[in-house]
């Protein structure tokens, strides 16, 4: 590889941001002053290219410090990592949180997604834009779901600098959002994570049991509340024993695909190729989802412990936690928890004195829904564009860095703790035969007590909504988020299980339950969903890249139409949607049309 660099130079700040991550450059090739020694040795090749996975952290370092990524800065980062600038440019322009054009140091992300739209996001946005126009030093950006739906409408301010400052305003008013953006340091502290758990204190809780009870900063407090008993149990059982328990528990992935976790672990553990990796998918970006955030903010050590167990069972010594870029508080809590666990021997070369080495590294996403797709997530960690890979080969065989990888989301992993502490039979007794254990739901929209709920599988939709205090005038419920489907207000007896929702012709997805009354017209919601997928398509395959655009256009045309006036465009939507479902590479394109289709077929939209 023969790298070519332009003449742009980094500023001192940009250089400092990169050097803070990578250490000072060692030779003039990497951008240091030229010295005699440079003439006598060469650096690069495999050792340098092996650092490619630091590209995304490097881009974050620049974006955090400066607010955007200049030519000189990108070139300097490329020199340090031996990455071709064209590729790095392709990566930088893939993520919504980065900019390769100059912009103000502060960016205010205002959510205009479903729950926020129903809570008046467009007026909020207009109000904010009125106050923070050009010259205000703040760039206002309309954002997809920020994962704060229980406090809709939401805004997140990010002020670049050293260190970067963030502030959340939710529920946001124009006043508060403007304050958060102009003075993030003096904005009021966010409410504690437990405020998003209306059932807090209920003794029947399993997964949410510790949220609001333990001090999320204290490892001792975590242990005083039963922390690390599951890992000790794991060491007693041995890796094969752990996998047997997880398999017998009937635990399946909570991310939407519902794949048996034990089988995935077994398949990874048995691969002859090494090393093995554990990847925790904490890139929770499905509109309407915020349960992983609440867990990570409220009980961060639980995730650290669960990842350690997954690593032990599958023979991995390294775990990557891929965290959504829009979750600054979860990032702080987890960084702290991992550092504490490492300092106290719960991570590191010799976990709990058992001779097992395991450590966790956090990688931040940068605003790309598609990176929640497991193979796109691997590419993102590796420093490539977050485009899904074609399967087969599957991750258990060739995953992160081409090695056997077990990938689970946050909720799935934390379920492993009760599996081990209760034992598989007791865990499997919770829920139904086909869907075992407790399940988390993110309830938002037209309810009095929005938040994360925990119920055993098998509760009905009506029971859940009653718990959340559903308001009068319910029109429709969106299950599973933007990739899920709508159900009618008279379908409250749908059992919330994988098999029950499937039988009802809908999906549980990741557990989103968004209630809508009639205040926002349905066509506007559908348009928002279409816009979301058009924005988030990675662009790799034609059915999704162009199909999402054509669908959005058709939904625009019929926004105000019904009956015969809409019939042609609905036929068009169906035809394009069918090809997207059949021929797209990944789940994004395959499910992008689900919600709109369900609204037409089930709710009679445009009829």
């Amino acid at each position: 590889m023969d790298l070519h660099f332009g003449d742009s130079k980094p500023t001192d700040d940009e250089r400092a941001a990169v050097d803070a991550l990578l250490g000072p450059p060692e030779s003039s090739w990497e951008g240091a002053d030229r010295s005699d020694a440079d003439l006598r040795w060469a650096r690069g090749g495999r050792a340098a290219r092996d650092r490619r996975d630091l590209l995304l952290p490097g881009l974050h370092a620049l974006n955090d410090r400066i607010g955007w990524i200049s030519e000189g800065a990108l070139d300097y980062l490329c020199r340090r990592l031996t990455v071709p600038p064209a590729e790095a440019y392709g990566v930088a322009t893939f993520y919504a949180l980065f900019s390769v054009r100059p912009r103000p140091a502060t960016v205010l992300h205002v959510c205009t997604d479903l729950a926020c739209a129903a809570a008046g996001a467009s007026e909020l946005c207009a109000g904010i834009e009125g106050r923070l126009g050009p010259g205000s030093g703040v760039s206002v950006q309309r954002s997809p779901c920020l994962g704060l739906c229980e406090r809709a409408p939401a805004a997140l301010a990010v002020k670049a600098g050293d260190p970067v400052r963030t502030a959340v305003s939710a529920p946001a008013t124009v006043e508060q959002a403007v304050l958060a953006a102009s003075a993030p340091d003096s904005a009021p502290e966010e409410p504690a994570a437990v405020m998003a758990v209306p059932q807090a204190g209920d003794p029947s809780l399993t997964l949410l049991r510790r949220v609001g009870v333990v001090d999320p900063a204290s490892l001792d407090d975590y242990r005083a509340h039963g922390g690390y008993t599951a890992l000790r149990r794991a060491f007693e059982l041995g890796p094969a024993g752990v996998i047997r328990e997880v398999t017998d528990s009937g635990l399946v992935g909570r991310g939407g695909a519902a794949f048996p976790t034990g089988r995935k672990w077994q398949a990874t553990a048995s691969q002859p190729d090494h090393p093995h990796y554990v990847v925790c998918n904490a890139d929770e970006s499905e509109p309407g989802t915020f349960k992983d955030r609440v867990l990570m903010e409220g009980d961060p050590y639980a995730l650290v412990e669960a990842m350690t167990i997954a690593g032990y069972a599958t023979g991995a010594h390294r775990g990557y936690l891929y965290l959504r870029g829009e979750y600054p508080r979860a990032l702080r809590r987890l960084e702290h928890a991992i550092a504490q666990a490492r300092a106290r021997g719960f991570l590191g070369d010799d976990v709990l004195g058992q001779g097992y080495a395991f450590d966790i590294e956090i990688r931040r996403g940068a605003g790309a829904y598609i990176c929640g797709e497991e193979t796109a997530l691997f590419n993102s960690i590796e420093g490539y564009r977050g485009e899904p890979r074609s399967k087969p080969p599957f991750p258990v065989e060739k995953g992160l860095f081409g090695k056997p990888t077990v990938e689970n989301n946050v909720e799935t992993l934390v379920n492993v703790l009760p599996v081990l502490t209760m034992g598989a039979p007791a865990y499997a007794a919770v829920g139904t035969a086909g869907s075992t254990g407790p399940k988390l739901y993110c309830v938002s929209g037209s309810v009095d007590r929005p938040g994360v709920y925990e119920l055993p599988f098998g509760a009905t939709l009506g029971e859940l909504l009653e718990l959340a205090g559903v308001r009068d005038g319910l029109r429709a419920v969106l299950l599973g988020g933007a990739a899920g489907g709508f159900v009618r207000a008279d379908e409250m007896d749908i059992p919330l299980t994988f098999e029950g929702t499937r039988a009802a012709g809908t999906t549980l997805g990741s557990g989103v339950v968004m209630a809508f009354d009639g205040t926002v017209p349905l066509p506007r919601l559908l348009l928002r969903i279409a816009e979301f997928f058009r924005d988030e398509s990675c662009g790799q395959c034609v059915p999704c890249r162009v199909g999402t655009v054509r669908q959005e256009e058709a939904l625009h045309r019929i926004a105000e139409r019904t009956g015969a006036a809409a019939a042609d465009d609905i036929a068009l939507l169906r035809e394009v949607g069918r090809a997207m479902r059949d021929a797209s590479i990944c789940g994004l394109g395959q499910t992008a049309w689900n919600a709109v289709e369900s609204a037409i077929d089930r709710l009679g939209a445009y009829a």
Partner: protein, 286 residues
């Protein structure tokens, strides 16, 4: 990749293709099997010298038991597989893919696509006059070749040819996301500011004419480009000892572009700037 059979013969995989028994060497794709059986499946992003990227999805076929359709160009034939190439479901997706592309991209110089549009009764116009298009102006920033991304279907072939699969120059990449994704050099700069070494290997693999010799681009603009009046002569490059094969495309006694045979076991269609573009001295007549 060009198949040069070496070593032990490969085992045969038996499976069903459109109801008929099919046998192909292990490792063959469904597309290989289709071609061996004389079946014509449309392909756009597939390239004979490149690893399949399976991005365009125009080659999808139905495989018994698979939830979605599968790309014939990259899915390997497996024993016992039941593949159907002509089902209504597969043809529907191909038709929509063609419509989506033809409604957003200028396919006027993409070989064979007009025939497929007809065969699949594709009607790209039905998305209406306001359907978004790429709307890119040709980038003419050097004397050797033109990048007309209005014709680009984002097949990734040029990126792969410039990158780790052949040239190892990494001058170009996909930038942006979704419908706004485009092939670009760093900072969207002109080619002359990039790492490009003008090997033209990207032009060699481009299936749409988005990348073309400046000579071809200019002649098309002037209305003088006439493929039927061109002859192709394959000869050996005289610049160095590698001995690459050059195919000279000649119209009116002038070389108008240079390609290289993909089945050459050494070069697989790749050249360097001298072989690709250094032909002017041949036709300096004074």
């Amino acid at each position: 990749m060009t198949a040069i059979p070496l070593g032990v013969p490969r085992r045969l995989v038996e499976f069903t293709l459109d109801g008929q028994e099919a046998r192909v060497p292990e490792g063959s794709t469904i597309l290989d099997a289709c071609r061996a059986a004389g079946k014509d499946i449309p392909t756009l992003c597939e390239g004979d010298t490149l690893r399949p990227k399976n991005a365009c999805r125009v080659c999808v076929v139905e495989v018994e038991g698979s939830r979605t359709l599968v790309p014939a160009c990259s899915r390997k034939a497996e024993p016992g597989m039941e593949v159907s190439t002509g089902t209504e479901r597969a043809r529907h997706s191909r038709k929509i893919v063609l419509e989506l592309l033809a409604s957003s991209v200028d396919l006027s110089t993409t070989p064979r696509v007009a025939g497929w549009l007809k065969e699949y009764e594709a009607k790209p116009d039905r998305f209406g006059p306001d359907a978004a298009r790429l709307n890119e102006e040709p980038k003419v920033d050097n004397e050797l070749y033109v990048r007309d991304y209005d014709k680009c279907i984002l097949c990734y072939k040029c990126v792969d040819a410039c990158g780790d699969q052949w040239q190892n120059t990494f001058a170009i990449s996909v930038a942006g996301r979704g419908f706004d994704a485009r092939i670009a050099v760093e900072h969207d700069a002109p080619l002359t500011d990039s790492a490009c070494v003008y090997c033209g290997n990207c032009i060699e693999v481009c299936p749409t004419g988005a990348l073309s010799f400046k000579s071809e681009f200019d002649m098309r603009a002037a209305g003088t480009w006439d493929e039927s009046a061109q002859t192709e002569t394959t000869t050996v490059c005289a610049y160095c000892g590698v001995g690459c094969n050059l195919t000279l495309h000649v119209q009116d006694n002038e070389i108008v572009k240079v390609t290289s045979p993909h089945d050459n076991p050494v070069t697989h269609g790749n050249l360097c700037i001298k072989g690709r573009f250094g032909y002017q001295h041949v036709q300096n007549r004074d």
